[in-house]
């Protein structure tokens, strides 16, 4: 498969969109683009963060998913109540693999599901009393919890329950933070608004609660923001930062605690990994507390080195020296990995379709292995994400926003990548088509992928997927035999 020219990619988009009715076609055209590195602003070529068309297969989530699942859920020592019917919490519990240290059910509650289990009578008469009772019960059964958050599901907004007043009362009664989060699923076009709502709730109910209290700081305090510790990512990140001589005060929110969040306003620098889900709180801290934030990327040695130097530039020479020492120490390990895997992976083509930061962040890691990303897209990205993506992607590669099931399948059929990086919903479709797929949401139950240690695992996993003999056996033996006979004849 050779790389397509600009015209060919344009023609490909037009061809795929051919089947849509006129109106749908017009709408979808705006979400598909050919990358042009000369464009400064993504809005000139791609539209994003718009409502998905009814009738197409989208894999977006809802505001509740963005708040409970992404931002609040990993805070391990709080209990997150899925307030509403049982399904939203039950079918999403413990699926995200944001690892944490602690004894589940005693002092940490990450993989548990707490729900108010709404019944018809709660919809008719309101669920406020139930919520108050639930908080009481939680306090009695799990006294080591450090706080409670109330994550609203759709009906709460629809019936107009006043969770704020219940929370305030309960907070006083149990003397712990109780945070009402208005993240009803119907808000916004995707989980992205849920991130925003969750960030605002943290800002209003958590962040400033320790202002003015004594804190023993050092000039090297930093916070890791927007790392959800999928498969241990935040730990791999933390190792490097601590080797650099920095003190990681808080982790947001993978393996994080509410106390860490309250201490965050004392740090000197916020390190922002997932820009999409946590930029709101970083901007707030920059304004209110004067803490600058920088985006960094810990996928693949090239980007890690770039990011480490960028971070070190904020600190004095001792940190800079240690950073160079860290880079030098890991370089042989990285060289060995690249020497081992690059010959096996060189020139392979990848298409990505994920959310958050990965559609642009992992490009560098693939390039370190000699692979090429020929198409990428966000489930719920905004224009500022695409602004940052344009520079990372090669010229005339494909960009797709909120791509539909049909479009992604067609693109893959036409572009024939050697591998797709996406989620569980795409995995078996493409694997049955004979294309290996690695889940880039959950790292396919592997990980971590962040940091130097993560890159070793990343390289191995990509090799496992691509070199698996199973993809050579897609044609059943009886058909293979027939083909060989034909050839012989």
């Amino acid at each position: 498969m050779t790389t397509l020219s600009r015209e060919e990619t344009d023609a490909l988009i037009a061809e795929v969109l051919e089947v849509y009715p006129e109106k749908a076609k017009k709408d979808r055209t705006k979400h598909l683009a050919v990358n042009d590195q000369t464009i400064e602003q993504s809005k000139k070529c791609i539209t994003s963060n718009r409502k998905s068309l009814p009738g197409v297969m989208t894999i977006r989530g809802c505001a509740y998913a963005g708040s409970k699942g992404v931002v609040w859920g990993p805070i391990k020592d709080m209990i997150h109540i899925s307030h509403g019917p049982v399904g939203c919490g039950q079918y999403s519990r413990a699926g995200r693999r944001n690892y944490y240290v602690g004894t589940t059910g005693v002092d940490t509650f990450g993989t548990m599901n707490f729900t108010s289990d709404f019944q018809e009578k709660d919809i008719v008469f309101g669920g406020d009393k139930k919520l108050a009772k639930l908080i009481e019960e939680i306090e009695e059964l799990f006294p080591l919890n450090k706080g409670i958050s109330v994550q609203s599901e759709c009906p709460i907004g629809l019936i107009g329950d006043d969770i704020e007043s219940v929370s305030k009362k309960a907070a006083k009664a149990i003397d712990k933070p109780v945070v009402p989060v208005r993240c009803e699923g119907f808000r916004g076009v995707s989980q992205s608004l849920g991130h925003h709502i969750a960030n605002d709730a943290i800002r209003d109910w958590v962040l400033d609660k320790r202002d003015g209290q004594p804190f023993e700081g050092t000039p090297y305090d930093v916070a890791i923001i927007g790392d959800y510790n999928i498969g241990g990512d935040a730990w791999a990140t933390r190792i490097i930062l601590e080797e650099m001589g920095l003190r990681v005060v808080s982790q947001w929110s993978g393996d994080g605690t509410i106390a860490e969040m309250m201490n965050s306003p004392r740090v000197k620098l916020n390190l922002l990994h997932c820009y999409r889900s946590m930029n709101y709180i970083s901007r707030h801290m920059e304004e209110k507390y004067g803490i600058p934030y920088i985006e960094y990327n810990f996928f693949g040695p090239t980007k890690i080195i770039e990011s480490l130097r960028k971070i070190a530039a904020f600190f004095d020479d001792s940190i800079k020296e240690k950073t160079e020492a860290v880079i030098a120490r890991y370089q042989p390990m990285m060289d060995a990995i690249i020497a081992k895997y690059r010959p096996r992976l060189e020139g392979k083509k990848v298409m990505l379709y994920v959310g958050g930061l990965r559609p642009r962040h992992v490009i560098g890691a693939y390039e370190d292995l000699g692979m090429e990303v020929i198409g990428t897209g966000y489930e719920f990205g905004h224009n500022d994400d695409y602004d940052r993506t344009i520079k990372e992607m090669g010229d005339a590669t494909l960009l797709y926003d909120d791509v539909t099931g049909f479009e992604l399948e067609e693109f893959v059929k036409k572009l024939k990548p050697d591998m797709v990086g996406s989620g569980i919903k795409e995995k078996y479709i493409f694997q049955k088509m004979g294309i290996p797929l690695r889940q880039m949401h959950s790292w396919d139950y592997s990980g971590p992928y962040h940091g130097y240690d993560g890159f070793a695992i990343f390289a191995r996993d990509m090799d496992i997927a691509l070199s698996s003999p199973v993809f050579g056996n897609l044609v059943p033996p009886w058909k293979k035999a027939a083909e060989e006979v034909k050839k012989a004849a």
């Binding site: 602003q41 925003h196 901007r283 920059e286 304004e287 905004h382 500022d384």
Partner: protein, 75 residues
């Protein structure tokens, strides 16, 4: 009226941010830019124009302000 945030860009210029719509754009021109009077009409690089009431130049950026939309960017 909309809540906006003005911050210092990496390349030296000012950056305009509209949280409600996650709109980030660099400010091409600002009407008043003196220590005692700062603000007025803001021209953005995406074609939009906004107006903020002139205030004394803020000691520290970013700053959150209320802004009136004069001309929207096409989108």
């Amino acid at each position: 009226m909309a809540n906006i945030m003005i911050q210092q860009g990496a390349s030296g210029g000012l950056v305009f941010y509209l949280p409600k719509r996650d709109l980030e754009a660099s400010i091409e021109s600002i009407e008043f830019d003196t220590p005692e009077k700062w603000g007025g009409e803001l021209k953005l690089d995406n074609g939009g124009t906004y107006f903020i009431d002139p205030i004394a130049k803020p000691a520290r950026l970013p700053i959150s302000l209320r802004a009136k939309r004069l001309g929207a960017a096409e989108d």
